[in-house]
């Protein structure tokens, strides 16, 4: 669906641009230049930029991005196609008395059409590919599966998204090709007339059917997977008030999101819309500030250093107070009681390396650092409470530093592709992969107490949310969270099931 709408929009914009460019030579250079530059912006960056510009997550920025990418092949091909029309035909068109408009519609465009359609095909097919990335900003679609699979290191999920996407690309290619075929009258001369008419109409309409199918699938795709469904506990058909819960794109966040969602569903009359797996702190923060989502689980340390950009503090209570006060004043967001665990960043190495070198604390690494390869998340590389600050605080300078996806870094460390990572202290894979957390002896990292943060407005209209989530406060200590994380990462269970099991074991859910 994303591909359909964006390609359609692009066609409407791009073909006239191409036609204009074919007539006004001065425009050509600048036009192609600008569109070409757009093309070179990496897709993820483009999505992030649009997110910032439009202030929305979801389908809208994705569609704009896809439409922008579709422009270049279509404009360029329109231009090339028209320029490639035989000069003899063009001269004849003018000489027998066609107006400029007639020359365009009766001669130039029909003769340029094969090339234009080729451009549209290219745009549509690459659009399918880029569309899968838009799940990064919550636009849904097949990319969701891929994203989730990446977050959970679940190959099956990744394939569940990737294979249909690839098939879809093939189908789209065929359909747009068929549409092009139907428009070229001279290709069907050997078919009997009636068959021609039938085939041509159906071929022309094929892409529209597919786009329509895509829209339907997109809308109901909400129903296919549990994680993005609407759900109503009592089955009442009246429209209910809704709360939108977000999460970042790693396991712990998915579990916390599920815990909150299930509790709210169980203990209030509200329906919950899940917008999980958003790509990182900045996206979640942006979304909650502009009201696209209503709540998610944030960490005090992250709020302090990355969002509020303040100096690092060490006392957990103080950090919480500061963060709660500032978020209330600046963003109208309330911090509820923390869950009870501190998911701090922890510099982590393999256990056997630690034993061999006698590493217990972070400063023990200073000497060997130039010989060590580090793998950090992209967010960690940029945050003040991340690598930049770490280097200053400890004088650490690793020999090699790479960006790693948070879901993959544990395995990378275990498989000796890197020697040091910055793990999340409550990750289940630390024990599983026999990794060791080093002590932060210079107190560099702030505390990262996790707590639900909710928009003040939502809390005011639905104070029952606070009560619904109250049982979670202090319920999860480091070990418990680690255990839950392990069940998902290590045992490959779904966050939803693990959350439900946990809630039931604490009698917070009725049997349903």
């Amino acid at each position: 669906m994303l591909t359909g709408i964006s390609t359609g929009t692009a066609i409407v914009l791009a073909v006239p641009m191409g036609i204009l460019a074919s007539r006004v030579a001065r425009l050509r250079g600048p036009l192609l230049g600008v569109i070409g530059i757009l093309q070179t912006i990496p897709s993820l960056a483009m999505l992030a930029i649009l997110l910032a510009l439009t202030g929305k997550i979801g389908a809208l920025p994705a569609i704009i991005a896809l439409a922008l990418y579709a422009l270049l092949p279509i404009v360029r091909n329109t231009l090339t196609g028209i320029q490639g029309v035989s000069p003899a035909a063009l001269e004849a068109a003018r000489g027998i008395g066609m107006t400029d408009r007639q020359q365009l519609w009766k001669v130039k465009i029909p003769l340029a059409l094969p090339v234009i359609v080729a451009g549209i095909r290219t745009a549509a097919v690459t659009g399918v590919g880029i569309a899968t990335l838009s799940a990064f900003i919550g636009a849904g679609g097949l990319g969701q599966f891929i994203n989730r699979g990446l977050a959970l290191s679940n190959t099956n999920l990744i394939l569940l998204g990737a294979i249909p996407a690839a098939l879809l690309a093939l189908v789209v290619d065929f359909a747009t090709g068929a549409m092009g075929w139907s428009l070229e009258s001279c290709r069907h001369r050997h078919l009997p007339k009636r068959l021609q008419a039938v085939l041509r109409t159906s071929a022309f309409l094929l892409p529209f059917f597919i786009a329509l199918g895509g829209v339907i699938a997109y809308m109901s795709g909400a129903g296919i997977t549990p994680v993005s469904s609407f759900s109503s506990p009592t089955g009442d058909q009246r429209p209910r008030a809704k709360v939108v819960i977000a999460s970042k794109n790693f396991t712990e966040q998915l579990i916390l999101g599920e815990l909150m969602a299930q509790l709210i569903q169980e203990r209030t009359e509200l329906t919950v819309e899940r917008r999980f797996n958003l790509g990182g702190t900045m996206i979640c923060h942006g979304a909650i500030v502009n009201g696209d989502v209503d709540m998610y689980a944030e960490y005090t340390g992250t709020g302090l250093t990355t969002i509020l950009r303040r100096e690092v503090l060490s006392d957990p209570d103080e950090v919480f107070r500061v963060v709660a006060r500032e978020y209330r004043n600046r963003f109208d967001i309330e911090w509820l009681q923390s869950f009870g665990f501190n998911n701090t960043y922890a510099i982590t190495v393999r256990e056997r390396d630690a034993q061999m070198h006698g590493w217990e604390k972070i400063s023990d690494l200073i000497a060997s650092a130039p010989n060590l390869r580090a793998g950090f998340t992209s967010e960690f590389m940029e945050r003040p409470d991340g690598y930049p600050g770490l280097r200053k605080a400890y004088g650490l300078s690793f020999g090699e530093v790479r960006d790693l996806d948070p879901a993959l870094m544990y395995e990378a460390l275990a498989k000796e592709e890197v020697d040091v990572i910055c793990a999340f202290a409550t990750d289940g894979r630390i024990a599983a992969y026999k990794l060791k957390l080093l002590l932060d002896n210079r107190d560099f990292f702030p505390p990262y107490q996790a707590a639900p943060i909710v928009r003040k407005e939502v809390l005011k209209s639905h104070p029952e949310i606070r009560e619904a989530l109250a049982p979670l406060s202090g319920l999860l200590n480091d070990a418990t969270m680690q255990g839950l994380n392990y069940k998902v990462d290590g045992k490959k269970r779904s966050p939803r099931d693990v959350a439900r099991e946990f809630l039931k074991s604490h009698n917070l859910l009725n049997e349903d």
């Binding site: 000069p87 001269e91 004849a92 027998i96 008395g97 066609m98 009766k106 070229e184 001279c186 001369r189």
Partner: protein, 271 residues
């Protein structure tokens, strides 16, 4: 068939020749006056007659032709068609009234032959059935069986057939004038010859005013009522073939016909 064409026209038979196209001191420069493609050219073309513009490449003959239907605009001078200055008419409407046959043929590959022939009628707003009928008539006139050719496409026809369709297209709206720009130049000698003969018989039946551009001396002699010889943008001489052959008015004209004359004499001696 010929009668059909006469019905379309009011009878224009008259004893004194009426000038249909006039070029009055026409000049054209493409580089602001440094050089002239056509310099100070004055010509009359009488009704129902064929004037051949003869000259070698670059002499300005095609430029002159294109100025008549305003594909090119003259720098100086006036061109009158039917007593009216062409500059005062809408170029698009003007072109629809004048049949034009192109050297590169210029048919449209994405249209059927039938549609190609009727394209000017389409521009004039004729409805489909009338266009079809007329297109079929013209195809027959040009010796192409409509049953076979109407639904074909350009790439299924030989060069000679394509140009016949080109002529048919030019005749479709029954224009009074026909401009032909080296129309047989892209064809082989045998086909060229056949088409010249066909054009001659068409001439007799259709009584159109034709301006025909060529560099081929024999073609000029075969097809013309009068020949206008151009050289470097200037008119060297205009007259009937007898006049230019027997009373050349300049060195250039003499030179021009000397070689073919010798060839012809040699040919005659053999036969």
């Amino acid at each position: 068939m010929a009668r059909f064409f006469f019905e379309f026209k009011q009878d224009k038979a008259s004893s004194t020749p009426v000038t249909m196209i006039r070029l009055i001191r026409v000049s054209k420069t493409f580089d602001g006056g440094r050089s002239y493609a056509v310099k100070d050219l004055s010509l009359d073309v009488d009704e129902g007659k064929t004037l051949v513009l003869l000259g070698s490449s670059g002499c300005g003959k095609t430029t002159t032709l294109k100025m008549i239907n305003r594909l090119i605009e003259p720098t100086n001078g006036t061109i009158e068609v039917d007593g009216q200055d062409v500059a005062s008419q809408d170029p698009v409407l003007l072109r629809r009234k004048i049949g034009y046959v192109f050297q590169e043929i210029g048919l449209f590959p994405h249209m059927t032959i039938e549609r190609n022939v009727g394209i000017v009628l389409e521009l004039l707003g004729w409805d489909k059935s009338r266009r079809c009928v007329r297109a079929h008539q013209l195809l027959e006139l040009m010796g192409l069986d409509p049953g076979v050719f109407a639904d074909r496409y350009l790439d299924e026809l030989s060069g000679g057939q394509q140009q016949r369709v080109g002529v048919a297209r030019a005749l479709a709206a029954d224009p009074d004038y026909l401009l032909m720009d080296e129309p047989f130049g892209a064809l082989d000698a045998l086909t060229r010859d056949a088409l010249q003969q066909e054009l001659l018989s068409l001439k007799k039946r259709l009584k159109k005013t034709i301006i025909f551009v060529t560099h081929d001396i024999f073609e000029a002699i075969t097809l013309s009522d009068r020949i206008a010889i151009l050289h470097k943008g200037k008119l060297e001489q205009v007259g009937t073939k007898e006049e230019v052959l027997n009373s050349p008015e300049s060195e250039f004209v003499t030179e021009l016909f000397s070689k073919p004359a010798k060839q012809l004499a040699a040919f005659k001696r053999v036969t």
